[in-house]
Amino acid sequence: MLAKVSLRFDPWRWLVLLPAIVLAIPVLVILLSLLQPQWDVWSHLRQTVLWLYISNSLLLAFGVGVGALFLGTGSAWLVSQYEFPGRRLLEWMLLLPLAIPAYIIAYTYTGLLDFAGPVQTHLRDLFGWRYGDYWFPEIRSLGGAILMLSLVLYPYVYMLARNGFREQAASLQEASRTLGLTTRQHFWQVALPLARPAILTGTALAMMEAFADYGTVQYFGVDTFTTGIFRTWFGLNNSLAAAQLAAMLTSFVLFLLVLEQWSRRKIRYYHQGQKDSRTPRKLLTGGRGWVVLLLCLLPLLFGFVVPATQLTLWALATWQQTMDERFLQLVWNSFSLAALAALLAVLLAVIFAYARRLRRDWLVLVPVRLAALGYAIPGTVIAIGVMLPLAFLDRHIDLLAEQWFGIRTGLLFSGTLFALLLAYSVRFLAVSLHSVEAGLQRIRPNMDQAARSLGCSPRQVLWRVHVPLLRGSVLTALLLVFVDVLKELPATLILRPFNFNTLAVRTFELASDERLADASLSALAIVLVGLLPVIILARSMERVQ
């Protein structure tokens, strides 16, 4: 229930409204760009690449959806229902591919599978083939991109589906059986339908990431919306048309967002008060156990072990040349930028979460929800939405400053870290907000009242009850945003100040120049840091045994 809004001045409202408006500007700008249609560019696009963008983006998202659904649900079912050698270890290791950004796995497999790579070289040596003698699948293709993205995005489905299966009470299966169903019938009629909202949510998330991907498709030369936006902006030099393309991409994503939100609501209903006992896992012995183990190993092997090993081998071979002052500068840039962005996102999240707790009305709820929608919006889109208004602002400030004070201020906002920090806050606020809100929910209002009745002032309640209880989730939020920023590519690529490089940007540039081995050290650094949130996830998953 929402409370009635009172009209007197209330600092909490402004603490929410002002940042929320700023965070909403980029997406608003993208939508408003539709008011100034760039007909000439659009007719050009329609005659040339527009249908390619649309079909490739849809095929990519659909393909990744199917791939992630298949890999994620399959492995989740096996680890949640059966006991086999190595099951406990696999259960969390299946999350590891999350640590590898898609563009990194893409260039690693390119290095492995292209003509000069070890796989084809070995095949040629083995069979005595030569160039042109044989057919080998081209990894740099739409199919290859689907495969790469599926391999690193399936954990979204896996994680949610596994919990979906595990959280089903043992009594449900027993109820099915007393009503005359066999185990197999129970799976199709009860277990799968019950896990369906969780599976759909995971699939929608994976598809959103596929729409948002820039690094992989750019590297593979597949024309999608994200690469099209880049090209329209920097190639055709038409920022408005780029924004309009971005608006179109956003509409696809919003559809997924609605699907995801709708599924999440169902999960809540499907898992009400039925957590007494879990179905015991069926023990698989002998050959069947090993077959299941092998099946579960496949996604882990190709999604993590193979690319991580290849990166490590490259890094070992090249680190003496690549580990120089420039690399350390990259690490410093990336880490300080990510830390700054994480602090900002978490600060906003704490303010928003408290405002939600203290003022339960729509004037707070709506801005907070809108500001948190950014996680669904592709980085490329957000970058454009940030760039357009900031450039406009900079031009006018510069003009005014020259007229009034005779100084030039230059690119005060759009050419500095400000633009990046704004974009990251838009994109990753939802990540920090989710974590902080979950933490705050554990502090039930009764606890405040209990503390007050035991003689604490409101300030003491904050220090003695809230701070210690929130510490864990705030740290988690910081870490999650930190790692997400470190991995982020397209927005950083567009918005970074001149001569400011990060690990992600450098990795992508080197890989694009076909200097795959030289890119490995920074890529490996990103993967290693990316392992941290995976460990947190794995630990939270253990609670649902």
């Binding site: 027993e174 007393t178 066999t182 019950l194 209903y269 009400q272």
Partner: protein
């Protein structure tokens, strides 16, 4: 019809249910009570077919369904079960839940049966609701409707009221008994609450440490408990020390009484006599007096806790207008319809630890 013969159930080397024999004929409602860990739920799950049996056998009208080495799967037993957490399917509507076990019926017949059951449990308007839209008591009724929809031979209820409010429990237990009687359903329920058992059951089994202590009607359990455990577990009461004057006569603080409950007692034997609160009548003219230690007002009655001159404590259920203060001496007399007597030492050592 349900018959258990010398049944034992074991988890590994650990036997949790031993030597249980009981039978229910068609339409009878049985109840298993006992402290937690006594094996009553295990016994129920063995009947359902979720646990194999180590010894003995379970028979339904179709024949033996469980025996060592034989475990007819649950889906072939034609049993219904109501679970502690109800285990309703959250992705289905109320009607779909009730119809879940009716797949063998035609669409019309199944719709008909669903309507009939909704009517029976008193929720005819909820067919299209989802489970999360129901209250706890409504969920309980739907769980019952789902279990009896396929007309099972025996209905099993596993602590079906434990997640409900106290007030709701009793009225629901009465309603469910009516429904089961109306459907002539054979049923067996597990509970740790004896008053639920009294409300529901034709026959009650008291279990302790995996053994059936007594399988009898509620009246018999209360008035003729076979041993101290049952006497203590069912109802309130105290054991008052006494001594046998001969095989029949017992001397207690209330005077001398005749007993025929326990054969084989001899003169001089030390015994304990079971005294229920309703066995002690408040009587101002009685020569025996006792001091009021505590009182608890029960509306129509007052339950007094009294101390006798001998130091023994007893309960007395007096009519509500006999209002006395704590510390007051009141006159009482023993009004025994029948005496329940246990030899003190001999039986104590026979009882399971």
């Amino acid at each position: 019809m349900l018959v258990l013969e010398q049944l034992a159930v074991a988890y590994g080397p650990h036997t949790v249910v031993k030597d249980i024999s009981l039978s229910l004929s068609k339409g009878q409602i049985g109840c298993l009570v006992g402290p937690s860990g006594c094996g009553k739920t295990t016994l129920l799950r063995a009947i359902a077919g979720f646990e194999p049996v180590a010894q003995g056998q379970i028979s339904l009208s179709q024949g033996v369904v469980s025996a060592p080495g034989l475990l007819c799967p649950p889906e072939q037993r034609r049993l219904g079960m109501v679970f502690q957490d109800f285990a309703l399917f959250p992705h289905l509507t109320v009607a779909q839940n009730i119809g879940f076990g009716l797949r063998h019926l035609s669409r019309n017949a199944s719709q008909q049966r669903i309507r009939e059951l909704l009517q029976l449990v008193g929720l005819p308007d909820l067919a299209r609701r989802y489970i999360h839209q129901l209250s706890g008591g409504q969920q309980q009724r739907i769980a019952l409707a789902r279990a009896i929809a396929p007309k099972p031979e025996v209905l099993l209820l596993d602590e079906p009221f434990s997640s409900l409010d106290a007030e709701l429990r009793e009225s629901l237990a009465r309603d469910i008994r009516q429904i089961l009687k109306h459907e002539q359903m054979t049923a067996i329920m597990v509970t740790h609450d004896q008053f639920e058992a009294f409300t529901m059951a034709d026959l009650i089994g008291v279990m302790e440490h995996g053994r059936m202590q007594q399988w009898a009607t509620p009246y018999e359990l209360y008035h003729k408990p076979v041993n101290r455990f049952v006497a203590d577990f069912i109802g309130r009461g105290v054991l008052l020390a006494g001594q046998m004057l001969d095989a029949q006569q017992v001397k207690t603080s209330f005077g001398v009484f005749r007993q025929s409950y326990q054969p084989g007692l001899q003169q001089g034997d030390q015994v304990d006599v079971l005294i229920r609160p309703d066995d002690i009548v408040h009587d101002d003219d009685s020569g025996v007096t006792a001091k009021v230690l505590e009182k608890s007002f029960r509306g129509s009655h007052i339950l007094y806790s009294l101390e006798l001159k001998s130091g023994d404590q007893v309960y007395c259920l007096a009519l509500s207008h006999h209002n006395h203060a704590v510390g007051e001496m009141i006159g009482i007399r023993l009004d025994l319809d029948h005496m329940v007597v246990y030899p003190r030492l001999a039986v104590a050592s026979q009882e399971p630890a």
